[in-house]
Symmetry: C2
Subunit: 173 residues, 2 copies
DNA sequence: GCATAATGTTGTGGAACATAACAATCAAGG
DNA sequence: CCTTGATTGTTATGTTCCACAACATTATGC
């Protein structure tokens, strides 16, 4: 019942909020009629708790690398789409371009990415991983892999695939 | 592929980070051997996207009430455990007691909760919902119910129950 | 009774995010 | 061509959330 992020380093976020567990149309056994929905039955609350747990563990996992979650995500996207411009990266990760600038600066200062002028648009800057960036991302992804294995230890492979599908249905556009 | 929280009001959080989709022991079809794991296959990334989607929608849902997520969660816990002390509330929601103080002050200023001395511990303050707090929580939970129905529209009742179970397995302890 | 722990409180700093404004460039239309 | 408007990157600034440290008051254990 206690939250997961009580001591996971820097990752404690506030808390979820109340959410109703079941749609109104199908009253279930948990709180049949006028009974007040409990936080435990709410998907949103469970989602936040799981999120806190994973992000907290991920933060401590990434600690030795010196990279934060956002930076790793940025590296992964840049590897997947070499030459992506800043605006595109921001859109993909939900980061506004103003806030993206210092993050890009960090990665370039660490010599993990290169920033070159985009071929046909002299406003835009195309982003590429450096050799060091490739290597660093590989090492980091290995850690992240171990992290997922750790936090998802209670789930079978089929359950993980199920979960992935269900979450995607929620996040879908 | 674009993130869900591009325009959902105040809810845009940075982004997830790379996570490996499958445990090392069972190589799957998505990225069989040395292939780099993609963000799309990572449970942690899907979790963050779903989290952003739901929390963003919840924030706009709660806007007309003037209450933030944390405050609603606090009210729900206090209703479930009347007389709970601040420390207990903080532990349950993953909020440090220092940060809890101004939140409690907000709720008392709104006349939604009462703060009385705990019976057998003159340090602690026991928390109770006021009549206004009860009513306000009821009205708010109705909105939250509609919010869950909206964001989980793509999931059947059985899928929602599955999801709840899987998420709880992650957040456990 | 005294040392130690727990509870609430205050103050402070940092990280993440939003917003506004600006220069340079592109794109479209007159 | 050239002017208007949109786009990209950038800087600056404010807000919010959270962590951490320190303190007074009260409980607890020896």
């Amino acid at each position: 019942m206690a939250n997961a992020n009580t001591n996971v380093a820097n990752a404690a976020q506030p808390a979820n909020v109340a959410n109703a567990a079941e749609p109104a149309k199908t009253a279930n056994a948990a709180h049949p009629q006028g009974s007040t929905p409990s936080l435990q039955d709410l998907v949103g609350y469970a989602l936040r708790r799981a999120h806190n747990r994973m992000m907290g563990d991920l933060a401590v996992t990434l600690e030795p690398t010196g990279l934060r979650r956002v930076l790793v995500a940025m590296l992964a996207v840049i590897r997947a789409k070499p030459g992506i411009i800043q605006m595109g990266l921001g859109t993909e990760l939900g980061i506004q371009r103003a806030n993206l600038v210092p993050l890009i600066n960090e990665l370039t200062a660490l010599d993990l990415i290169d920033r070159r002028l985009a071929p046909h648009d002299r406003r835009a800057l195309a982003l590429f991983l450096t050799a060091k960036g490739e290597a660093e991302l590989d090492r980091t992804l290995a850690l992240v892999l171990a992290h997922e294995e750790r936090t998802l230890a209670r789930l079978t492979a089929s359950e993980r695939k199920q979960l992935l599908g269900l979450l995607d249905k929620i996040a879908a556009d």
